[in-house]
Amino acid sequence: MSVQSNVEVRTEWGIVSARQAGRNLAKEIGFSSVDQARITTAISELARNIYLYAEKGEIIIEAVEEIHSTGVKHGIKITAKDKGPGIKNIRQVMEDGFTTSGGLGAGLPGVKRLMDEFDIDSVAGEGTEITTIKWNS
């Protein structure tokens, strides 16, 4: 299984490549087509934010696993990293209805709901790093 792919995002092509890499790995891990669509949607949202607000950055896609007494849980981890302007008020952007697009449920809160784990770090003037995981149930 491919260990990790890094996709540079600075154009819409980058967004598409990130989606592709995400879909390939999600398939390999055995995610259903519904989950594949969820994962690629999350990647799209994160990559578009890089493209729109930070100009460039990267999306890192990797397989992760967690060992439980009942067996091994497989998942996909997506990291979106950029050295853009950062997000000043993280709490605000994580609220529903804040997105500039007025997006119905889209944007970062939407990504959080599509995925199982979500973590955001951002420093104004330094950049943003968002990590999110989906487990295959």
Binding site: R38, D96, G103, L104, G105, L114
Partner: protein, 337 residues
Amino acid sequence: MADSFSLMQEQYAKILQTYLQEKNEIGLYHAQQFSKKVLENQISPEEVVSLHLDAIEKFFPDLPQGARDSFEFLLEVMMGYGMAYREHQSLRDKQKELETEINVAANMQQTFLPKEIPSVDSLDVGVISVPASKMSGDYYHFVKDENNCIGVAIADIIGKGVPAALCMSMIKYAMDSLPEQRLQPGALLENLNRVVEQNVASNMFITMMYGSYDPRVHHFYYSGAGHEPGFYYNYKTDSFEELYAKGLVLGITRDTTFREYHKKVEPGDFIVLLSDGVTECRTDEGFIEREELTRFIHQYKHLPAQEIVNNVFYQLEKLQGFQLRDDFSLIILRRKV
């Protein structure tokens, strides 16, 4: 209990198959019922697409590849709906939470109002105060001093809902922190005006009417701060007159003074105090007239004060189709014969 996803899958396959065989309205009716179930079980739109694909793959093992691929495409298109659906669910949860909080706050607010109306032998008092939504921007207050004088305040915060309610709790606190000894209505409003001016946001205005009834001499002294005029019912002439007190709304300028008025109250006479939610009761034909209101009061004047206010409220509520647009408060103090 939510059915498991696999159970839904099975059921979907079954009703779809039946429909494909019989192609009748019953089948479609089942589909509609199923759609309710889907929502109950919080199944998102993209999952419904996959339910469908799974089912038809089973019925048509040699489904053309193109048809199958088109479902991948549809799945992507449905993702937006999926996200909107999840947001809707989370907003609904949030709304429930807010509602619970407001209910708690509304209960708390009820405790700000006097638990009982002080009684003196010569007075019959009736009070009703109903918020338009859960929280009220109306406030009333009663006190009785050692001489059995009854102080009565009615206040209306301009605006309604939660902001008005917050402001109302401040007024309650301000009233409670006034000096112990009885103040004349004018002086009391002057005191209160200073508190409001200092402590309440400049875009919040409070109107108030304060009166004091002295049962030893049967005089009613009152002052008003931009408040909706009340009525005075004269038993002997069987007529109403306006109970008006000139004065600026509370909180506008620091050194407002309030003129004091007084009335000699004869047996059977009564004083009506109200908030503007009573007169701004809007029907399909527009606001009700103040005369109309006095007509209602007159109609019930033979009843005890509490029953008058209850009945008047019921009539006005009915006129508005049982939907209050503003907080409603009505107080009647009648000198017993």
